[in-house]
């Protein structure tokens, strides 16, 4: 997918661990891991809102469009 989530970069800049972030925004580690590894097919506005609040950033800081970075394969990984 050409849309990438730069969660790992923003987390590194804020020096926050996956466990801390999961606790703050109230989602499971497994789901946060899906976001961090760019396996997510979609992200809810509520999740994006919570991430931006917890990390003190804008949605644009987290999301990035990478042209030519593959298409939608139509396949996902079951959680």
């Amino acid at each position: 997918m050409a849309i990438r989530l730069n969660l790992d970069r923003v987390m590194a800049e804020r020096q926050i661990s996956l466990t801390d972030l999961a606790d703050r925004i109230g989602i499971t580690l497994a789901n946060l891991s899906i976001l961090k590894t760019n396996k997510a097919r979609a992200i809810r506005f509520t999740t994006l809102d919570a991430l931006c609040r917890a990390l003190g950033c804008q949605p644009g800081d987290l999301l990035e469009f990478v042209a030519g970075d593959g298409g939608d394969t139509g396949e996902g990984q079951e959680v």
């Binding site: 976001l35 979609a42 992200i43 809810r44 999740t47 996902g76 990984q77 079951e78 959680v79």
Partner: protein, 224 residues
Amino acid sequence: MSQFLPKLFRWVFAVLAGLMALGAVCIVVLMLIGPVLPPGAHFGPLHGDIAGQPATFALQSDGADGQLLSLNAFRGNIAVNVDKPAGVVEVLKRYGLPLALVYTLFFAALFEVLRRLFRNVERGASFTPQTVRLVQIVGGGLIVFAFVSSIGESWFAHAMYGYLAEHTQFAISGTTVHLPPVGRPHFIRFPLGNSAFYTGLLVLALAEVFRQGLVLQRDNDLTV
């Protein structure tokens, strides 16, 4: 309540699968024993009714060394006598028992697949690759069964009719009626006339719905 029905169905299908497996074992035992009609066996006349009219059914000696299986109905207007009824038992053993075994084995397998399906539903795993595969197995199995049962029933009916045509005296109001000779395809059943065939097609269509549900489930799982 949402878990009650899947659990109930799981237990019902588990019991049915067990009963079918037990039935299959009994049929195999019966095939191994190979029961025969004893030469001196007799019963009846048993009184019953056919279409509201009194009827009698009996197995008795034919006066010589043999036996006679007789049915009288409609105040004696219909009389059916089968000489050498032991042959009927032989036909049942040779053609009926294998067919019954195929039926019980198929239904045992079908109920086991349905039990697994409802176990998945009970766990909340309705849209998983395994569930889709199980639904496809049920649909495909029913279609195959429609063909197999049609062939098997035709085979059995042909054999039974062949025997009865040779050994049955059939009389209506005293007039003897001869059954047409064996060899003509009276009993060919077509799978397209079998409801299992259409049920199988319907279940296969449902399997496709489940497959699309699986895609939606994956999308939902990967939406955070």
